[in-house]
């Protein structure tokens, strides 16, 4: 099962929920931090990293001894990533989407591909938890290809928790697609509500069942709760504001660290998610 933890609005507690959930469930669990622009889960998990891999995306390289300046490469490129300029062909690798079109249409076979570094993927473990995250290279614009690479490490049959980036555009879609369940984390404020509506919209586009965690549930107002009820999105957990939790977070401590009720509450949360996923699979099979 793959559970993607997402939010719309940033800073609502995605990482808190994803790390606590991953560390509370017994058995084989993997945590994939797909917020590759600003990955934070490792600051709480403190994994022992055993493998670091640089991830590259193919971009064109032109052999000018073969090039006849015909311009077909720049004609097919939608991203202005390869341009004929006077007596030379200039690739702009940072604009390239790696579609391979220029290489396909070059009549002289003058174009080959080299790699543009997207970032790194680091893999490790902590107490039996499998941990994988991507770190986008600073200056690199495109997060989705790196997110998809992180997700290639999903192993079937293992509970996989994904920490998704904020927002509702392509990086979030890359972190939610194909998940069995999206756990949305929000706060009961106007910003939280507005961005939650967008996030539910994105989840609906993908047709994935979802549920809600309301963090700092006693600040703000009741509009998030009313909206969730009207939309039929189940509220699976509420966490009241507690300065001690905020301070522990600031130091990099997880909610489930130490003794207390949190591990069992997160196991309960997982149980409810399992039930919803089973129900929705039954419904889908019946159709």
């Amino acid at each position: 099962m793959v559970i993607s933890v997402a939010s719309g609005k940033g800073g609502t507690g995605k990482t808190t929920i994803a790390t606590s959930l991953a560390c509370s469930i017994e058995g084989d669990v993997a945590l994939l931090d797909c917020d590759v622009e600003e990955p934070n889960a490792h600051l709480f998990i403190h994994p022992h990293i055993h493998t670091v891999e640089t991830i590259r995306t193919p971009v064109p390289e032109v052999d000018m001894s073969k090039c006849t300046l015909c311009g077909k490469c720049s004609e097919i490129c939608r991203f202005n990533a390869i341009v004929v300029l006077g007596e030379t062909v200039l690739p702009f690798p940072e604009l390239c989407h790696s579609c391979g079109g220029c290489m396909l249409v070059c009549p002289e076979n003058a174009i080959t591909e080299k790699g543009r570094e997207l970032g790194v993927i680091e893999r490790g473990t902590r107490n039996g938890l499998e941990f994988i995250h991507g770190k986008l290279r600073i200056g690199e614009a495109m997060a989705p290809p790196l997110i998809r690479k992180v997700r290639e490490f999903t192993r079937p049959g293992i509970l996989t928790i994904i920490d998704a980036p904020p927002g509702t555009s392509c990086p979030v879609i890359a972190a939610m697609r194909g998940a069995d369940f999206v756990l949305l984390v929000t706060e009961p404020t106007p910003f939280g509500l507005h961005d939650l509506k967008l996030a539910i919209g994105a989840v609906n586009v993908l047709g994935i069942p979802c549920g809600l965690v309301i963090n700092r549930s006693d600040i703000g107002d009741g509009r998030v709760r009313a909206y969730a009820e009207a939309e039929g999105v189940p509220i699976l957990m509420e966490i009241p504001f507690d300065r001690k939790i905020a301070e522990a977070y600031s130091r990099g401590e997880m909610l489930v660290e130490g003794s207390g009720e949190w591990p069992s509450r997160f196991r309960e949360l997982y149980g409810r998610i399992e039930m919803i996923v089973q129900e929705s699979q039954k419904k889908r099979n019946a159709q």
Binding site: G8, K9, G10, G11, T12, T15, E37, E38, N40, L43, F44, I76, R78, F79, H97, S98, C99, G100, G101, L104, V105, L136, I138, G139, E140, A141, M142, A143, P165, P166, G167, T168, S169, C170, P171, I173, R177, T189, P190, F191, H194, D195, L198, G201, A202, V205, L206, I219, G220, D221, R243, A246, E247, Y249, S250, R251, G252
Partner: protein, 295 residues
């Protein structure tokens, strides 16, 4: 004309709340919400929309089943696995590269332009505003960020205003990169947490790559003064100007719930005093840059 872009790296550190408070304090300015992916500034500024435009950007391939012979060439060349075995294009996977459209031997593929959002020119109680709404699950947010900043600048020029206050997106990827080019200065709003520090370092590195003068302020400073002080020391080492500390103050959330800026809700609150001091320091710096004839 000067542009201050407020960014954070980590989401939810208080960018928009702070920018709305600056909107109350600053003179002769245009507001710009460049967090097009999850725009929230309008919830406080309550804009009266004067102009509404479609945002058209990018294309998606569509296969005409009547013209398609099922040769499979498009599936062979598509690098995004966007075409199913029965020759349907999945619009979410389609990158809009147009390679299939250009090379289909039957010319059976159309490649229409996408309407992927809307952008607006509005009036607010604090001055004109440029803002946008990216469609759900859409791409090209960087292009929309660029467009909305251009519109903000044009608005300022037309109205003879000399400051653009831009609410930037979180992260370090495409929308943030699009929000930085050509800015006069950036202000990073962070928080004294392990995540806040980590993400601030990454986004500061990005701003340094653009050679943009960078400032930082720390929200909810008293949550972890030790961490806050460490962030300030880091900033000093990296030539990032430290603008001040904002205390944890429930007035911020209360103001937001009422759709007000902090000053409209309670100008005497502890948080308001801190924000006023920070704004004065930031404004001084921006005007100082002007006096030196910086871009």
């Amino acid at each position: 004309m000067k542009e201050l872009v407020v960014i954070s790296g980590k989401g939810g550190t208080g960018k928009t709340t702070l920018l709305a408070a600056f909107a109350y304090l600053a003179q002769n300015k245009v507001l710009c919400d460049a967090d097009v992916d999850a725009a929230d500034l309008h919830l406080i500024l309550d804009p009266h929309i004067r102009e509404r435009h479609d945002f058209q950007s990018g294309h998606t391939a569509v296969i005409d089943p009547d013209a398609c012979t099922g040769c499979g060439f498009c599936r062979d060349i598509c690098r995004y696995d966007a075409i199913s075995p029965d020759f349907q294009v999945d619009p979410i996977s389609c990158e809009g590269c147009g390679v299939c459209y250009s090379l289909c031997p039957e010319k059976a593929i159309a490649f229409p332009l996408n309407t992927s959002g809307e952008w607006f020119i509005s009036d607010t109680r604090f001055g004109p505003m440029a803002h946008a709404r990216l469609g759900i699950a859409e791409e090209n947010s960087g292009k929309l960020v660029t467009l909305i900043r251009q519109q903000g600048k044009a608005l300022a020029e037309n109205k003879g205003l000399d400051l653009l206050l831009t609410d930037g997106p979180p992260g370090v990827g495409c929308p943030v990169i699009a929000s930085l080019g050509g800015a006069t200065a950036v202000l990073i709003v962070t928080e004294p947490t392990v995540s806040g520090a980590h993400d601030m370092e990454r986004v500061a590195q990005l701003a340094a790559g653009f050679k943009i003068p960078t400032m930082v302020c720390i929200n909810k400073f008293d949550l972890n003064p030790e961490k806050g002080t460490a962030i300030e020391s880091f900033a000093a080492q990296k030539n990032i100007a430290v603008m001040g500390r904002i205390p944890f103050d429930p007035a911020f959330t209360k103001a937001m719930v009422l759709g007000k800026t902090l000053f409209e809700y309670n100008g005497d609150s502890e948080g308001a005093a801190a924000v006023r001091t920070i704004w004065e320091a930031v404004a001084n710096r921006i005007y100082d840059m002007k006096n030196r004839g910086r871009p």
